[in-house]
């Protein structure tokens, strides 16, 4: 069952159990986007505060499976301090990687590379993408 072990990496479990940047902030300078996946019950909200083209803060809130929760947590850590354009590119690359599509290997996904195992579990791609799709929407 090496596939499963490859999915449930230690880093993922660590973020699942100790989620970063959890909890929303009531402040209109934050842009918020919420996505629900009614078939599995996942429900994730991402909040982003960007200024002068730089992401100053990123928050997350919700519930769901370990993959969706950990991917939200890791997302928020990676994105803070990035340029908006750079952040979009990273998100795009990440989403391609987990969907087993072609992706730009020159983009550094940092800790999010731990989700590379998702591509072998087509039914879990949605779990790993939901936070990142919501994040992209906060930048629109």
């Amino acid at each position: 069952m090496s596939g499963l072990d490859n999915l449930y990496r230690e880093v993922i479990m660590e973020h699942y159990k100790n989620p970063r940047n959890k909890g929303l902030i009531e402040d209109s300078k934050y842009k918020l986007f919420r996505i629900k996946n009614p078939s599995c019950g996942d429900d994730i909200t991402i909040q982003t505060y960007a200024e002068d083209g730089i992401i100053k803060d990123c928050r997350q809130m919700g519930h769901g499976c370990s993959i969706s929760m950990a991917s939200a947590s890791i997302l928020t850590e990676i994105m803070v301090g990035k340029k908006v354009e750079e952040a979009k590119e990273i998100a795009e690359t990440y989403l391609n990687m987990i969907a087993n599509k072609e992706f730009n290997k020159d983009i550094d996904l940092e800790e999010a590379t731990v989700f590379s195992g998702v591509k072998d579990f087509p039914a879990r791609i949605k779990c790993a993408s939901i936070a990142w799709v919501a994040f992209k929407d906060t930048l629109e």
């Binding site: 499963l4 159990k17 599995c40 429900d43 519930h63 370990s66 039914a123």
Partner: protein, 401 residues
Amino acid sequence: MIKNIWSKDFPQIKGNNIYLDTAATSLKPKSVIEAINHYYGDLSSNIHRGMYEAAVESTQLYEETREVVAKFINARDDEVIYTRGTTSSLNLVAFSYGLDNLKVGDEIIVSELEHHSSLLPWQKIAEKTGAVLKFVALDKFGRITVDAFKKIISKKTKVVALTYVSNVMGYITPMKEIIEVAHKYNSVVVVDAAQAVQHLAIDVVDLDCDFLAFSGHKMLGPTGIGILYGKANLLNDMEPFEYGGDMNEDVGKETSTWKRGPQKFEAGTMPIASVLGLKESIKYIQKIGFKKIHDYITNLHRYTIEQFKIIDGLTLYNPLSDTGIISFNLENVPSHDAITYFAEKQIAIRAGQHCAKLICDWLGIYSCLRASIYIYNTKKEIDIFISVIKESIEYFNKLGF
């Protein structure tokens, strides 16, 4: 895998796969697949309007199926409407009967056990007409009882829309008694039989329901075909739900008239191949008989539950399930994490809200795992299922869940 006397008829069962997802869709016996092949491979003809041999045979098989369905539920031929599935059947009732017969202040009784397909059409009709949705209180096990039903019904109740068997809890609703009460209040009763029709003999005369809906694909039949039973006098007064070819009697530029009976509701080319397949699925079920089906599933279900009860780290939500439906969670493991383990072990069960969010809310959970047992499952399969559950608990424990 050791097969039982029925599973050999199901070509989908092969290798080490264990199928415990019948509540989502059932497997199909060879005879159903052959009927579909006969239509596509030999006939491939439209019905009702052709005079050549293939058209005549297709039409005959199509109408014979209606008789078979009618006998199956003890209805008259002209009370059996073909639809796309349970969901379409229930929408037809809501948007034809409901929209025209409900008004501000009327009440519609539903329950938190409803599948979204039995809830949402009525939620919309309530919004459109100003009628009010009322939820019958569930007992502490999550069941609909006659007592609770008597408490909620009133002179304002015009429609009762309830599930005969819950697709999450597996309980059989005491439908006959409920219908008796409802009729005293002149309320019309719509029965969602999607999970009932494969488990228990349904007699619409004895039950005295006004409408009853089910799907072919959950009862060993094809996808894309469902049935709506409706009492003839109600159907006669109802407006069509879809308009088009074959459902009209006369067409003019400004106004048109409709056929009577089920044909009024069958607009355009119907899913002919699926209709023909449905006939064989009903015949297959009838050949076995509901007593045998019930006894077999009850035994296997009891056997499974006994073992569930002694597994640590597992929450079972419906120990009293009347059918083969078992809903549970591994403790502290989100169902979508758990399900991946079972999938890797080639065990087909399902995770999620099962299109029944209100009962998840009622249970206080976001989602759960569901296994569902049918006649082609075996004791051996259950043994493997149980041991994989145990393994999985250990696996997720070790990971730190």
